[in-house]
Symmetry: C2
Subunit: 273 residues, 2 copies
């Protein structure tokens, strides 16, 4: 369940994880940029509110996208696993320029959509050029390895994070959200320390990473993105530490990027602008 | 980190997860079959004892493989992450017909080897035809999504399993071991229920799955293999259940296979022989 294969000549769509609580009224920079990327007013956008338990979450984003000028924005009601086999919704996704996954609980997304025809369609369409954005739980669900939950605090510890398989749109990053606001450095470090192959992406609220897979990432929004690169990790006590004990990690590389900052995925180099 | 790509014309090597406690003296059927698959007495086998904290684990397997007639069996001492950049050991793996990962703690494997040159080499060489076997912790480490730990019992519950990224030799299966002996149905069901895309593989002790990726799996050994296919899952309460509460799952398909049994990966069909 790494990203679906692209076909020669097509370019993979953006994936756009957002740290939650993105500005919606006064200069909604992230949502505006998402709409632009999808083709502007003529874009067709599917909204997946599955993570949310509130009835009007999807409808509110529908109104919001229409207010931003989008003519075709539609809520896809995936509440049960059977909903995720719906031919109508599958056909809608075939024509979408972008899909937007709302916040809520990421385990609702993986439990409901995981392994269904809809999950396959989103993965394939993203490889064909469709863009996929997600905020909060919607962002958490995007990567191959998903942070399902965990504890607050900045020091890693073995029982600090719960992981589960995600949608698999990228396996270059492990994504966490509400990052600064909920003190999540420790749980992201813990997730990375289990197997230090991926780069950690900690997204503050109202902050998005516009990721061109295989190429680069650009920061948009009012907060920061914390990038954690464990590729030079020299020492880790993750395998020895017991529940509740702190974990020692030596040789982590850390970058904080703000609006306009860029990160090259292959070289793992960061640029302030 | 799905399986590395094969090159046209080459055939991916077997991956061979073993449920632990495989017979070593009196008719060591699984180890014999592994040696056969690797080319018999002329095979070159690398032993990775990283999971174990006991000093003689690797050496014992070295002796064992020699007793089975293998001329070239060598322990690769990956104790630290720096060991996993060793040119000598990388060159040895380039020439190996098979790699064998011992038991112990799978988090030692992922913490030490994950993201290093050795992990990349094993993944690439497996795609080129090298076979990879692992017993107990060595089996747990093989798939993309690894069961790092958890609780005993047959009913799934949200806090029953800890997952972490594994070596990524397959993303078709999530693997558990010492399955019947340690009552692990509940934790494997929990792992699958998070995102029901993969098939669960519960390996009893002294039982192995010889997996030809993309093709089929064959059972070897004295115990059983429990295959759990969630693809028709109709209902799951995984997203609603709280810590310690049981999870409802409706529509799981289950097979128990014993020696000689086969499972076709693409069709998800099981055969008794």
């Amino acid at each position: 369940m790494s990203p679906a294969n692209t076909i020669d000549g097509t370019e993979r769509g953006y994936i756009i994880p957002i740290g939650g609580a993105e500005e919606k009224l006064n200069n909604p920079e992230i949502l505006d940029r998402f709409v632009d990327v999808c083709g502007g007013k003529a874009a067709r956008i599917g909204i997946i509110p599955t993570a949310s338990e509130l009835e009007d979450t999807g409808r509110n984003y529908e109104k919001l996208f229409r207010k931003l000028g989008v003519m075709h924005a539609k809520v896809l009601h995936f509440v049960t696993r059977e909903d995720c086999q719906s031919d109508d919704d599958l056909q809608y996704i075939e024509k979408c320029d972008g899909v937007f996954m709302t916040g809520g609980n990421q385990l609702r997304l993986s439990t409901t959509i995981g392994g269904t025809a809809i999950a396959q369609a989103i993965r394939r369409r993203n490889a064909e050029g469709m863009h996929v954005a997600g905020t909060s739980a919607g962002a958490a669900f995007m990567p191959e390895h998903m942070i399902a939950g965990g504890k607050e605090g900045s020091t890693p510890s073995p029982d600090m994070v719960n992981m589960a398989p995600g949608l698999g749109l990228t396996n270059s990053f492990i994504i966490d959200q509400h990052f600064r606001e909920r003190d999540r450095l420790g749980r992201l470090l813990t997730a990375l320390a289990y197997n230090p192959f991926a780069v950690g992406l900690g997204l503050d609220e109202d902050t998005a990473a516009f990721i061109k897979c295989g190429d680069e990432l650009e920061v948009v929004g009012s907060g920061g993105i914390t990038l954690i690169d464990p590729s030079d990790l020299k020492y880790s006590s993750m395998d020895k530490a017991r529940r509740g004990e702190p974990v020692s990690l030596i040789g982590i590389k850390l970058h904080i990027l703000v609006s306009g900052g860029r990160y090259e995925i292959a070289s793992r180099d960061a640029f302030a602008e």
